[in-house]
């Protein structure tokens, strides 16, 4: 059976700045200039207050581990990595996003909820994908 490759995102006009940011090594997300709320995933309105007065900014890349599973049944392209963690992280700015964790073994002992993380980037075809890795406390 031919090996299938990992899923590659296809940007849309409203998400393009996010993916362009990743390609530049920056985690760019949006915030509302009316209520100040930062949010993810990219969309042209603030999900907190409905305002269309929103802007892109570069997030710090700092996050904490909110929750995860360690997946033993790999998705296409992940066969060599299984078991691997599929995590949700909480960005320092507030929003949460799904990610993978790199530079740390995928075991419950190594993956402690609320541990500090920082963003890193991986190439996936034409796309640069944000992933997260353990950070020293107080550093980014």
């Amino acid at each position: 059976m031919a090996t299938r490759s990992k899923a590659v995102p296809v940007p849309t006009p409203e998400t393009r700045p996010y993916w362009d940011g990743c390609a530049a090594g920056e985690l760019r997300i949006q915030r509302c200039t009316d209520c100040g709320e930062a949010y993810f995933y990219p969309r042209p309105l603030c999900p907190s207050c409905g305002s269309r007065a929103v802007e892109w900014f570069t997030a710090s890349g700092r996050a904490t581990l909110y929750s995860y599973v360690i997946n033993h049944r790999p998705a296409p392209g992940f066969e060599e990595e299984a078991p691997y963690a599929i995590a949700v992280v909480q960005l320092a700015e507030g929003p949460r996003m799904m990610t993978n964790l790199v530079g740390v073994p995928a075991t419950p002992e190594d993956l402690v909820l609320d541990m500090p993380l920082r963003v890193a980037f991986e190439q996936r075809g034409e796309i640069t994908l944000p992933v997260f890795t353990p950070a020293e406390e107080g550093r980014s």
Binding site: K6, P11, Y41, Y66, S67, V69, I70, H72, F78, Y84
Partner: protein, 387 residues
């Protein structure tokens, strides 16, 4: 709480309810054939003929037009709401509204899914340009075992749920399944058995994940007045609720509770004019072992963090104070992929007095359905008697 029921209107009841002749492994049935078999069984159960059906509801694939056409009927009203496994609970709610509005008198709601054998089944596909395709699929998700499961570690840390308590959800439900000859898994199991089963997605072991089966079922919904003259004891729809939450598990607002379960439940309970004390029988969609815990807490049967201990103390198993998932649930009875229809069927059977693990004359059954990964919810309050 004794607040008066709101949304007063004509009484509506489930007059016919049936599953396919068999559930489990049915490689000789296509998805559409499962819809048709369930439909014919439910219409016959009501003592009606297909000519009596003037409304139809089912999920988008194969859809109400296809199912109606296959049955040779031309309904005046249709609903193709497809929000995952809870869709059929929403169809009941929408049918109640349609019947009250005079858009239809007798609505057929069908489910059929070749979830295991995949005969004539719609493909699983994630659009790589969708939010899910851009922001979750690239991280190696592969269906519900890798997504629906993600919130639980947060809950475990914040509320102290143990691995043993999670495992006990499967143990309790297997005790019900052992009484149900149609259940796929019927052998009694222990917490040790569950924790020794293969790890699927930590912290979930195989026996904490639902089955994948083939099957179907259908309901006939009409006015309570009409239902009273039909073949079977009517099961009255006393209250309904629906709510949406998130299309992506990563964006679930609070990983330790389901807001949509709570919101839909409040609507259904208020309309029915009931409190948790009035509930004799409960079905909570159990795609995974944590969902009944979230359901018990969101509906207010127990406080936050108390769902796991409540089940582990035996309260929901045979002989317990709150019989839960008495067909064995998605964990042990059957789970085609969109399990909600089977949860409703068990509520109807219990109120009619014809369940395999029959309770002592329950008056009120509550059914909570989940769609997607904590994406959409429907709740039905069903009664042996009208309000």
């Amino acid at each position: 709480m004794t607040s008066a029921a709101t949304g007063a209107g004509v009484g509506v009841a489930i007059a016919g309810a049936a599953e396919t002749d068999e559930v489990g492994r049915l490689p000789g049935h296509s998805t559409l054939a499962l819809h048709v078999e369930g439909a014919l069984n439910a219409v016959a159960d009501a003592g009606l003929s297909l000519k009596d059906i003037d409304g139809i509801a089912t999920v988008a694939a194969p859809g109400p037009v296809q199912v109606a056409h296959a049955l040779g009927i031309q309904p005046d009203w249709m609903d193709g709401t497809g929000v995952g496994g809870t869709s059929f609970l929403l169809h009941v709610r929408h049918a109640v509204a349609a019947i009250r509005a005079g858009y239809a008198t007798t609505v057929l709601i069908t489910h059929g899914e070749s979830g295991r054998s995949r005969v004539g089944a719609p493909p699983y596909r994630t659009d790589p340009a969708s939010p899910l395709g851009q922001f979750e699929a690239p991280y190696g998700t592969l269906g519900p075992t890798t997504t629906f499961t993600i919130p639980l570690l947060r809950y475990m840390k914040d509320y102290g749920l143990t691995h043993e308590q999670l495992a006990y959800v499967a143990v309790a439900q297997r005790q019900w399944a052992a009484k149900n000859p149609r259940a796929m898994f019927r052998d009694i199991i222990s917490v040790e058995d569950v924790l020794a089963s293969r790890m699927v997605a930590y912290p979930f072991h195989l026996l904490e994940c639902c089955l994948v089966t083939d099957g179907g079922g259908a309901l006939v919904v009409t006015t309570a007045e009409r239902a009273a003259d039909l073949a079977r004891p009517p099961v009255h729809v006393l209250g309904t609720g629906e709510a949406s939450e998130t299309p992506m598990i990563s964006q679930m607002p609070d990983f330790t509770e389901s807001g949509m379960f709570r919101r839909a439940g409040r609507k259904a309970f208020a309309e029915a004019g009931i409190t948790t004390d009035d509930v004799d029988h409960l079905m909570v969609y159990d795609a995974f072992a944590h969902v009944p815990i979230y359901g018990l807490e969101a509906l207010g049967f127990v406080g936050k963090g108390e769902g796991g201990p409540f089940i582990a103390e035996g309260n929901t198993e045979p002989g317990g104070v709150l019989p839960l998932n008495t067909n064995g649930g998605g964990l042990s009875y059957t789970h085609t992929g969109m399990y909600g229809m089977f949860a409703i069927q068990e509520g109807v059977r219990q109120l009619r007095g014809e369940a395999a693990a029959q309770l002592d004359a329950p008056e009120i059954s509550v059914v909570l359905g989940n769609g997607g990964m904590f994406a959409a919810c429907g709740v039905l309050v069903l009664g042996r008697h009208p309000k």
